[in-house]
Symmetry: C2
């Protein structure tokens, strides 16, 4: 009774390929050099991941050997792949998403506007903010309950986690304001891929 779920890195690849058809090498560079560095850029991670996605018919690769260029296998999304990506991006936020660190939610949000449009991204922020609002008090009570702490450093580490979520919450408010600002300027359109 388990969905044959694509791991997080698979979705990262789907999202990047949706933005721009890419080779394994392109993806390695992105993971190695940009802020997406939390995902592995090792060939032993990326090439097998591409093969798995291709086996599931979510992407398709074609070699571009034309005129003296280096051999290069560029992947692009299939219709199934785009559907899978949209389905992932459309999932509702569940408490577990927030508890396990917000990495997956942020990855989804980063791709969301291009794929589903700015109004969906804006709605997502509202959901996100609400989920954080519900979760933070639980952490704070955890801090108070454990009043007789083992050490100052242990308590501070816990406080650091709470601050992280508070900062995330502040970011959602900021981001919501940014979307409101942009909506007054231009109409919300479903983000056509050029």
């Amino acid at each position: 009774m388990k969905a044959p779920s694509t791991p997080l890195m698979g979705y990262a690849i789907l999202g990047l390929i949706q933005q721009k058809p890419s080779s394994g090498y392109d993806l390695r560079k992105i993971f190695a050099e940009t802020a997406m560095g939390n995902y592995s850029s090792s060939p032993g991670a990326i090439y097998p991941a591409l093969e798995r996605l291709e086996a599931k018919r979510l992407i398709r690769g074609e070699v571009t050997e034309s005129m003296g260029l280096r051999r290069r296998k560029a992947y692009r999304l299939t219709a199934r792949g785009e559907a899978e990506l949209k389905q992932w991006l459309s999932r509702p936020i569940v408490p577990n998403d927030v508890m396990r660190g917000a990495g997956e939610l942020m990855l989804r949000f980063a791709f969301m506007e291009q794929v589903l449009g700015s109004s969906v991204a804006s709605d997502f922020l509202v959901q996100f903010s609400a989920a954080l609002k519900a979760y933070i008090p639980a952490l704070e009570s955890c801090l108070l309950n454990n009043a007789p702490h083992r050490s100052l450093s242990a308590r501070l580490a816990l406080e650091c986690g709470i601050r992280g979520y508070q900062s995330l919450q502040e970011w959602t408010q900021y981001a919501i304001r940014q979307y409101r600002k942009s909506q007054t300027n231009q109409t919300s359109r479903p983000a056509q891929s050029r």
Copy 2:
């Protein structure tokens, strides 16, 4: 040319066991119910991890079958285990630690005071703060360089990462102040395990 490194969860277990000898079940509860929930509480993760640590002679388990109690295998640190834990806690902070998310550094800090004393923990915070100060500008320039962003949501996601590190930096300052405050009240002692 690779150290037979204990994975992060192994150190989490060593740290917890140092605080208080524990069984696999105890650890499961801690990982499931407290703020350490980012580590897996599944039996398939914990029991093999305990076996690995025992095989490396870092911990030793003994069954406590006394008087009608349920069978229970409590582990405690060996001398080697304590040495390994101290060695891990004493490692200098390298840029990579900060880039790959600060999870390992926070775990180390949480255990640090009990094992190595408050002055080491305090020094650690200073190092941590310096590492963050060096890293944040790189992220900010990444934001500026990618000025023609794909979408507002992608830019905001990047900003969220930066804010997270800034909040971490603010926390280090706060934590350093807390240590200064505590040092004026009581002398810094190497934290004897009772």
